[in-house]
């Protein structure tokens, strides 16, 4: 009979309401997202109840990870604590985030005990910290995601990881596209270059002290080496570099390589000054790079652009203009700098001009 069907419908609807009412508390706290599962840089699958709202970044080079995290507005908001070592990146991030001073700063070498009071839903750290931080955080039930952010490939992968963690896949896509666009352009220009068309390039780190003639070259696996290759050059120092860190080479070895171009990296922000001093140094005369004037200081702003922080893309772009000036004729470097800071960090052009441009160092036009 008609009334029975109506009653049944109402009953069914009521049951549905009841079930929904019972389930709703279960979804409490989410901004609409459900449980997450993300595979981190070490291939571990991390299960989270939902997008974490409080994130702590810990371990060595935490600031570099924060720098990448800050490419996401959600990252800026949800990060509550970080381990700080090194001033320069901190200054930059203060520019990007007005709430920077509200962030909790952990002591150096913070362990699980120091991290726990910051109440994180998630801890993010570099893969190198896996052995040190993994088990203790596991023991107290704090999930941790390890990221790499060391090379162009891992940058791409780890940006996707952050996108999943922050539940901001759209933004992640944006960022990856930004990088990919430029990398594609570069690959197109330099991908087919024959060996003869690639100048031999040397990248050295050097701090000036009177009478010192030793320099360091970066390991083969690091960003600097891939940057040189992508920019259309031939890195000469690969036979010298052992894994681990910078390797010292003597002037004799550099003379034996006799590269076409030499790029000087200086982490104290005076790379072009150092390059100029070297060019004038008596010991260096006779090297082809010195005679042809092809010795440059690697640029940077708050931090040198050869470091594995997001601004490496600017370093790569600059390198391209120096290594293959002909092919890079239409590259507008300053435009790239602006585009980077506007699109990646949502900085106002006026702020960029006021705070970042004056800090630029290196052999820039």
């Amino acid at each position: 009979m008609p009334t029975t069907r109506l009653v049944r419908a109402k009953a069914g609807f009521t049951v549905l309401l009841l079930i929904t009412a019972l389930l709703l508390p279960g979804c409490g706290g989410d901004e609409g997202g459900g449980p997450l599962s993300v595979t981190d840089a070490l291939g571990e699958i991390v299960e989270l109840d939902g997008p974490p709202q409080q994130i702590t970044v810990a371990g060595r080079a935490a600031l570099m990870v924060v720098d990448a995290l800050y490419l996401f507005p959600e990252g800026r908001e949800r990060m509550v604590a970080l381990e700080m070592r090194g001033q320069n990146i901190g200054d930059f991030l203060a520019l990007v985030d007005p709430a920077w001073s509200d962030k909790i700063v952990l002591e150096m070498n913070a362990g699980a005990e120091q991290i726990a009071p910051t109440n994180p839903d998630l801890v993010i750290a570099k893969t190198g910290m896996a052995e040190q931080l993994g088990p203790p955080l596991d023991a107290i039930g704090i999930p941790v995601v390890f990221v790499d952010f060391e090379t162009p490939e891992t940058y791409d992968r780890d940006l996707a990881i952050l996108g999943t963690v922050l539940d901001a896949p759209g933004r992640a896509e944006e960022i990856r596209d930004f990088y990919q666009e430029r990398l594609d352009r570069l690959a197109e220009a330099t991908g087919d270059l024959a060996d003869a068309e690639r100048p031999s390039v040397l990248v050295i780190e050097y701090s000036v002290e009177e009478g010192t003639v030793a320099f360091s070259v970066p390991p083969v696996g690091w960003l600097q080496t891939s940057m040189v290759e992508m920019a259309g050059g031939n890195p000469v120092w690969t036979e010298a570099s052992e894994a681990g860190g910078w390797t010292v080479v003597g002037l004799e070895q550099i003379a034996a390589w006799n590269p076409d171009q030499i790029y000087v990296v200086d982490y104290d922000g005076n790379s072009d000054g150092v390059a100029a001093e070297l060019m004038a140094d008596a010991n260096w005369q006779g090297l082809s790079a010195v005679e042809s004037g092809e010795m440059f200081g690697f640029p940077g702003d708050f931090i040198s652009w050869d470091q594995p922080v997001p601004s490496w893309i600017l370093g790569l772009t600059w390198l391209f203009t120096k290594v293959q000036p002909g092919l890079a004729a239409d590259v507008d470097l300053m435009g790239e700098v602006h585009a980077f800071y506007e699109e990646m960090y949502s900085l106002d052009p006026a702020v960029i001009d006021a705070e970042i441009i004056p800090r630029l160092f290196g052999s820039l036009p």
């Binding site: 060595r60 080079a61 070592r85 090194g86 150096m108 070498n109 701090s207 000036v208 002290e209 009177e210 009478g211 010192t212 003639v213 030793a214 360091s216 070259v217 120092w237 036979e239 010298a240 570099s241 052992e242 860190g245 910078w246 390797t247 010292v248 080479v249 003597g250 002037l251 004799e252 070895q253 003379a255 034996a256 200086d266 982490y267 104290d268 005076n270 008596a282 010991n283 005369q285 006779g286 090297l287 470091q307």
Partner: protein, 325 residues
């Protein structure tokens, strides 16, 4: 008696002048010196001062090792024993940390020397205040304490160092190397090393006496305390200067005196000059390997430790070898 050894040193020096990484790894053809200006400059402004510095380094460490072993009646003693090397390490690390790059010339070396000498002074002062054991034991204990103090200081500094810029510099310096030496660096060595070496050589016979017990040395008409202090200051000052330039280079000061004594007898009249020459040869050869073997510089301290330890083990297991008398 020592002429063959001196000749050997000379030959090693000349030979080393012609090996390096330019134009390729290994031997540098002499005719390049005429033809290639860069080669000329590399050999005379880079290799030559470096070889001389290596020679002085080896001589100083070999001589200081002999002096310390004799004066302390202990064949297992090293120059890095009275807080000298560790003090130098601390001073250099401190300089790198506080001054960074762009510091005044050789400031790092100067500060390291100051701390190295202060290590010695501290060890001596502490030893005088101890109430346990005879003088030699007290000095040993004080030296261990002061060395440990400075070593932990270095640890703290490394902890505080910026891992990007400062820590690698400190770590490389601690391993020991001559890669950044030029004529200027060599010149700064001389005011400490030449007097130190001269003093050790002049007092080489007196050293024998200082190996005796104090009362006996006294009965022979010496002032054991004063003479011991004199020869020690000379040895340590030279060691401090050399350590400040090249970083901590170990094992030379331990092994070379043993080789010298085995080959030439325990009499320091001969053993000390022999140790100087053998030390020089050893250091130059190690440095040759350090700058030639691989494209990158191998820290000198690693090579001397490896070869020195090997040599020491071989030496201790074979029967005595005597070259003369």
């Amino acid at each position: 008696m020592l002429w063959p050894l001196a000749l050997a040193l000379l030959l090693v020096l000349v030979f080393s002048l012609f090996i390096g990484r330019y134009p390729g790894p290994g031997f540098t053809p002499p005719r390049l010196l005429w033809e290639d200006e860069l080669a000329r400059r590399l050999v005379f402004s880079l290799r030559l001062p470096r070889l001389l510095a290596a020679t002085l380094l080896g001589m100083t460490l070999g001589g200081a090792g002999t002096v310390l072993q004799t004066v302390f009646r202990n064949p297992l003693v090293e120059p890095g024993f009275l807080g000298v090397s560790q003090g130098a390490a601390f001073g250099a690390a401190l300089a790198i940390l506080t001054l960074g790059s762009g510091s005044p010339p050789l400031a790092t070396e100067a500060i390291a020397s100051v701390f190295a000498l202060s290590g010695l002074v501290l060890s001596y002062a502490l030893a005088r205040r101890l109430h346990f054991g005879g003088w030699v034991l007290r000095l040993v204990l004080a030296g261990i304490a002061v060395s440990a103090l400075f070593s932990s200081g270095v640890g703290v500094l490394k902890y505080l160092a910026d891992p990007m810029t400062q820590l690698p510099a400190i770590t490389f310096w601690l391993l020991g190397g001559l890669s950044s030496l030029t004529w200027t660096g060599l010149l700064y060595l001389l005011p400490f090393v030449i007097p130190g070496l001269t003093l050790m050589v002049l007092m080489r016979w007196r050293l024998n006496l200082l190996a005796l017990h104090d009362e006996t040395a006294f009965s022979l008409g010496t002032s054991p305390g004063r003479e011991r202090a004199l020869v020690l200051v000379g040895a340590v000052a030279a060691t401090a200067a050399v350590t400040a330039v090249s970083g901590i280079v170990g094992w030379v000061g331990l092994v070379v005196p043993h080789i010298a004594r085995r080959a030439y007898g325990a009499d320091s009249r001969v053993a000390l000059p022999a140790a100087l020459l053998i030390g020089g040869i050893f250091a130059v050869l190690c440095d040759d390997l350090a700058r030639t073997l691989l494209a990158g510089e191998i820290p000198l301290g690693i090579l001397t430790s490896f070869l020195g330890a090997l040599g020491f083990a071989l030496l201790m297991t074979r029967a005595r070898l005597r070259v003369s008398r």
